[in-house]
């Protein structure tokens, strides 16, 4: 299966995360985490092709556009990709609630890990509030993003097994 559609989707979200939307300072974590969530969603679809190395490349691109240290978002994107593969059994039905719960847990882990890495990087405690807000916002956004990705997947690969099982 081609990686064009998943790759373009993640690239699009990475670019969207970097664009100056004029969001307040507390909302700086929301859009990058949405890009990481897109990686998770694509990897959770059985048969969709988004290699882990591509997730890392997009994470590095996010690092470059956000001005942070190289490797931070790449690490979070890789963790989301690994978790997405393990979460495939939860994504095989039309009910998105189990996958949502998985993402909720993962978002909490990513937020805590991100906060710890950032604090370790600067040798001081980073403000946790924007990171927590980003994680909560990603949990709220998850059903919408998942639906959009399923729709994209369905229109790009209408004959796939996953679509045939009535996931959309």
């Amino acid at each position: 299966m081609s990686l064009i559609v998943p790759g373009l989707t993640v690239f699009f979200t990475v670019i969207l995360a970097a664009v100056p939307w004029g969001l307040p300072d507390d909302a700086t974590f929301i859009l990058p985490l949405a890009a990481v969530m897109t990686v998770f969603c694509w990897r959770a679809i059985p048969g969709a092709n988004l290699p882990a190395i591509i997730a890392v490349v997009f994470g590095l691109l996010l690092d470059v556009t956000s001005g942070g240290p190289l490797g931070f978002w790449a690490l979070l994107a890789l963790a989301a990709a690994s978790a997405g593969t393990r979460a495939q059994p939860f994504a095989s039905r039309s009910d998105w609630t189990p996958l949502w719960l998985v993402w909720t847990g993962l978002a909490a882990i990513l937020a805590v890990s991100g906060w710890l890495i950032a604090s370790l990087y600067y040798f001081r405690w980073i403000d946790w509030w924007p990171i927590a807000l980003g994680a909560v916002a990603s949990v709220i956004l998850f059903p919408l993003v998942w639906r959009l990705i399923l729709r994209l997947y369905g229109s790009a690969y209408p004959r796939s097994d996953f679509v045939g099982r009535g996931a959309i």
């Binding site: 670019i15 969207l16 995360a17 970097a18 664009v19 100056p20 939307w21 004029g22 969001l23 307040p24 300072d25 700086t28 974590f29 859009l31 990058p32 882990a52 190395i53 890392v56 994470g59 590095l60 691109l61 996010l62 470059v64 556009t65 956000s66 001005g67 942070g68 240290p69 190289l70 490797g71 931070f72 978002w73 790449a74 690490l75 890789l78 690994s82 991100g114 906060w115 890495i117 950032a118 990087y121 600067y122 980073i126 403000d127 924007p130 990171i131």
Partner: protein
């Protein structure tokens, strides 16, 4: 009975085990983080390359975002139109009074300068560009602008917008430049505060307001006092408006005049100082710098205005009028 070999067996394609590849990628991310922490040169080069590659996409994607922002701002303006008119009327009355005082002070200053035979300060050159990306994440508060080394920019230059000082350049690529904003955790700017010109350092902590550090004990600091760059670091020009003091007692903070979360058009001031030039060429002596300055093309002694997307931005580099 032995089976006859019917030909060479197809060799199974060798594949890296997924776990091994994933582990290698985790390791790579860890190494990159450590190299970034120690500021390795290869990381800076890779970042510059990637930044240049991604800049056309960012520039393209920033246009609709800027449009969306302006539409939202317009809707907000319509919603608060009547209160805004009242506020502008009051502000206009106050500014007329200030205009009269400014003209009076201007003539006094001119008279005193003539008496002292003071030499005119050279006008500052600048270039204006658009913000095409802003930092997202826990690490930095920075912005990427669509000007680079090709436009004559270098690390250390001050960046302003119509409201005041915004930050300084920390990284220049060929076509894009990263600006470290005032409220970034790593930002430290020497400033003068209030009519008494109290010396202090303004630091960022990734929040909206800035911290005022190293102000002398008992210094006359009051809410509303203007904060502007002192230029004592030898890099930034003196007198760039930074913000105003807010809060009381021991909890005095600085609120930047520029809205750092909604930057759009910014100007970079070409202010070459010996400190800046020597930091750019660490191995060279001061005499070489003077030679380079002498051989550089003549600088136009006037403010240059560059038109960007139909907007003409004139930076306000003047220090606030002392009361």
């Amino acid at each position: 009975m032995r089976k006859r070999n019917s030909g060479p067996k197809p060799r199974p394609a060798w594949r890296v085990p997924v776990e091994l590849l994933t582990f290698a990628l985790y390791f790579l991310c860890g190494v990159l983080l450590i190299l970034s922490r120690i500021g390795h040169g290869a990381i800076a080069e890779a970042r510059a390359e990637l930044g240049d590659l991604s800049s056309p996409f960012l520039e393209l994607a920033a246009k609709p975002a800027v449009e969306v922002r302006s539409v939202v701002a317009r809707v907000h303006t319509y919603a608060t139109m009547f209160s805004e008119i009242d506020r502008l009327n009051a502000e206009n009355a106050r500014l007329r009074e200030w205009e009269w005082r400014a003209r009076s002070l201007e003539s006094k200053v001119e008279h005193l300068r003539k008496l002292l035979a003071a030499v005119d300060e050279p006008a500052l050159r600048f270039a204006t560009g658009n913000v095409i990306a802003d930092a997202r994440g826990p690490f930095v508060r920075s912005a990427l602008i669509n000007l680079g080394r090709a436009d004559g920019l270098r690390a250390g230059y001050a960046v302003i917008n119509g409201d005041g000082f915004v930050g300084r350049i920390v990284d220049t690529n060929e076509s894009v430049t990263r600006v470290l904003l005032l409220n970034d955790l790593n930002s430290r700017i020497p400033v003068l505060v209030g009519p008494a010109a109290v010396r202090a350092i303004v630091s960022g902590d990734n929040s909206g307001d800035l911290t005022l550090d190293f102000a002398p004990d008992g210094a006359p600091l009051y809410p509303g006092d203007e904060v502007y760059t002192s230029g004592s670091d030898g890099i930034l020009p003196r007198g760039l408006r930074v913000g105003a003091l807010v809060g009381k007692g021991g909890n005095i903070r600085v609120r930047p005049h520029a809205d750092l979360s909604t930057l759009d058009v910014v100007s970079v001031i070409f202010f070459d100082t010996p400190a800046l030039l020597s930091s750019a060429n660490p191995g060279k002596e001061a005499c070489e710098i003077s030679t380079a300055e002498a051989s550089a093309p003549p600088v136009e002694k006037s403010i240059q205005v560059r038109k960007v997307d139909g907007v003409v931005a004139v930076p306000n580099t003047a220090a606030p009028i002392q009361q």
